[in-house]
């Protein structure tokens, strides 16, 4: 142990970055290059054989992207991370290391609609079978475990309903089943919740949202907690068995507690190809430097807007776990004491029509399909992000027809409330 462990805000600014050894540049340079020159042919062979640390090709590693990876790993308390072109790409790469055709994983029904689609359709075509469970009913996860189960997947704060998942209870189910717990921590960010502290083995993010934070760059990341023993049985051959791609290397034996991140890189990213652009990595890194400040403001504004909405006569219900009346408030206080995030839903007494009318009358909130921007955003999930689900699945995932989703930005909260007020009375 060192004398001091730096605080979160210090890590957000510094982790992974150091002055450029060649030029002295203090900001992380954008290494906008496809490839890296080898010292000699032996060096090249060492790099290709995973015997040396170093850069070959930006599809596998890039010095700008690796700063981002180390920074997010440090913020989450993980051993290593792997950045990808999007959050969806992160999920494909992570699951590819865990599942063979015919295998299963258990996922909470309360997920981002895009993940529900990816798991239900694209993953099914790979022979990776999702089994749904209900994060409000922990025993439903236990009942879903079979000998083919290879992982459990949840969101820490679920999109769009803003419900808080009892990570520790589901981590206990995963431990008993001998499978890793994967937590999508996109809406919370490590500033609000650090899932590894609660038993997660793998953390996934869409960097596109609060981490990047400015609505300008897609990206995703996989964080390895370094907690799971991949070799205790033969369930995870990508990590425990000799890999023919690398002349028989066993990844966990060679890379120890960051073997999962290495597997994602050298088996997943190398062969599937969804690498992050170094330019996007730079923009996301710049965003992360102000993550603590932004999240404080996002949460403060969200709470003020949620409180104002819940007192408005046109509003039927506000689903924000930061409100004491919310059913997830106790879990929010346990897992996210600094704030319950800035994405939540509410429904209007006027139903679907009133929701559509509100969206079209807003002048400051932007109507678009993203969350976690400096700007405040609004969407009607039932007709957009969750439109491909049937009505029952829409309601179960918190996106019923009368529901409007807000992502509260970092503007002045009085202006946000004034915009909602004029739109509701228009």
């Amino acid at each position: 142990m060192n004398d001091r462990i730096p605080g979160f805000a210090t890590l957000a600014v510094h982790a992974g970055a150091q002055p450029d050894p060649t030029t002295g540049a203090r900001a992380t340079p954008i290494y906008q290059t496809t490839s890296f020159v080898f010292n000699d042919s032996d060096h090249a062979a060492s790099l290709f054989g995973l015997q040396s640390f170093g850069n070959i090709y930006t599809r596998i590693t890039n010095p700008t992207t690796s700063v981002l990876e180390e920074r997010v790993a440090a913020l989450e308390g993980g051993t290593a991370a792997l950045a990808t072109a999007s959050g969806h790409a992160a999920q494909v790469v992570a699951f590819q290391q865990l599942l063979m055709p015919g295998d299963e994983f258990i996922a909470s029904r309360k997920l981002y609609g895009g993940s529900i689609n990816q798991f239900s359709h694209a993953f099914k075509s790979f022979g990776w079978n999702v089994v749904w469970a209900d994060s409000d009913d922990i025993p439903s996860f236990e009942r879903a475990v079979t000998p083919r189960t290879k992982a459990i997947f949840i969101e820490s704060i679920a999109n769009p309903g803003g419900s808080i998942t009892d990570i520790e209870a589901i981590a206990a189910v995963a431990r008993k089943a001998g499978v890793p717990l994967i937590v999508d921590n996109t809406l919370a960010t490590p500033y609000l919740i650090r899932p590894i502290d609660h038993g997660a083995d793998i953390v996934i993010h869409s960097l596109t949202k609060f981490l990047g934070g400015h609505g300008n760059s897609l990206g995703g990341i996989i964080v390895d907690a370094g907690t799971f023993d991949w070799s205790k049985d033969n369930k995870y051959p990508m990590l425990s068995e000799p890999r023919p791609e690398y002349h028989g290397i066993k990844l966990q034996e060679t890379f120890g507690n960051f073997a999962f991140a290495i597997a994602c890189r050298v088996l997943g990213l190398r062969d599937l190809g969804p690498a992050l652009s170094p330019f996007n990595a730079f923009l996301i890194l710049t965003g992360i430097e102000t993550l603590p400040l932004r999240m404080q403001r996002h949460c403060e504004n969200a709470k003020a807007v949620a409180e104002w909405l819940s007192a408005h006569e046109a509003v039927a219900e506000v689903n924000y776990s930061g409100l004491p009346s919310n059913r997830y408030h106790t879990l929010a206080r346990k897992y996210a004491p600094k704030g319950a995030g800035a994405v939540f839903t509410f429904s209007l007494k006027g139903g679907y029509e009133a929701g559509v009318s509100l969206v079209s009358n807003l002048k400051l909130f932007s109507h678009l399909a993203n969350v976690g921007d400096t700007r405040s955003l609004v969407i009607h999930p039932a007709s957009t992000t969750h439109s491909q689900l049937d009505d029952d699945a829409k309601t179960r995932s918190g996106a019923g027809p009368d529901v409007v989703r807000l992502s509260i930005g970092i503007e002045d909260k009085e202006d946000l409330i004034a915009d909602l007020e004029q739109a509701l009375s228009a």
Partner: protein, 194 residues
């Protein structure tokens, strides 16, 4: 001492001070972790000695295998052990017969034997267990950061450039580049006037 965690200073001091490293259990197979570590440390200037009684007569990246610690003809600073925990005590016993004694006994990732560690420490030998010197070297030098690994180090200091103290930039192979004809002509004209 506590072997659950080590300070960066403890590890850094060991990696900075040792020069001769004997690796017990070095494998000639180039996909084995011991081979990776041996080659990596040899490339960083450590005087590496591979120990494996089954490989005597052969060599590992140019270094001849020896059968045991006692057959090494020079003082050993560090013994890096690639054997499982039950084989560690006899290796420590062997090490304690050496004169001079090694300064460090290092047990690889996944290997821990507290009884053997206590015995070595009683003789004044530093012990590291369940760590990899390649990973620790890569972590403290930030090289491992290229793989997205959390090095758990922060610094605002600039690392010395790789060419510091060397003349690599003079010796790099090169071909002729673009001309400076205009400047050459200007220089010539200037000479003409003078």
């Amino acid at each position: 001492m506590n072997h659950d965690s080590y300070s960066d200073d403890y590890i850094r001091e060991i990696l900075n001070s040792v020069k001769t490293v004997a690796m017990v259990g070095a494998s000639p197979q180039n996909v084995r972790p011991s081979y990776f570590v041996f080659k990596y440390l040899a490339e960083r200037g450590y005087d590496m000695i591979p120990i494996n009684p089954g490989q005597v007569g052969k060599s590992l990246v140019g270094k001849p295998f020896v059968a045991s610690l006692r057959e090494i003809d020079r003082p050993i600073d560090m013994i890096d052990v690639f054997r499982s925990a039950e084989f560690v005590m006899p290796i420590v016993d062997d090490a304690l017969t050496l004169n001079p004694l090694p300064k460090v006994i290092w047990l690889q990732l996944g290997v821990r034997n507290d009884e053997a560690a206590t015995k070595a420490e009683a003789a004044g030998i530093k012990v590291v267990m369940n760590r990899c010197p390649k990973i620790e070297y890569g972590r403290l030098s930030s090289e491992i950061s290229w793989m997205g690994v959390n090095s758990r180090t922060l610094s605002s200091k600039r690392a010395p450039p790789p060419t510091m103290g060397m003349r690599l930039s003079l010796n790099r192979g090169s071909i002729g580049g673009g001309g400076t004809d205009a400047a050459d002509r200007a220089a010539k004209n200037k000479n003409d006037i003078v």
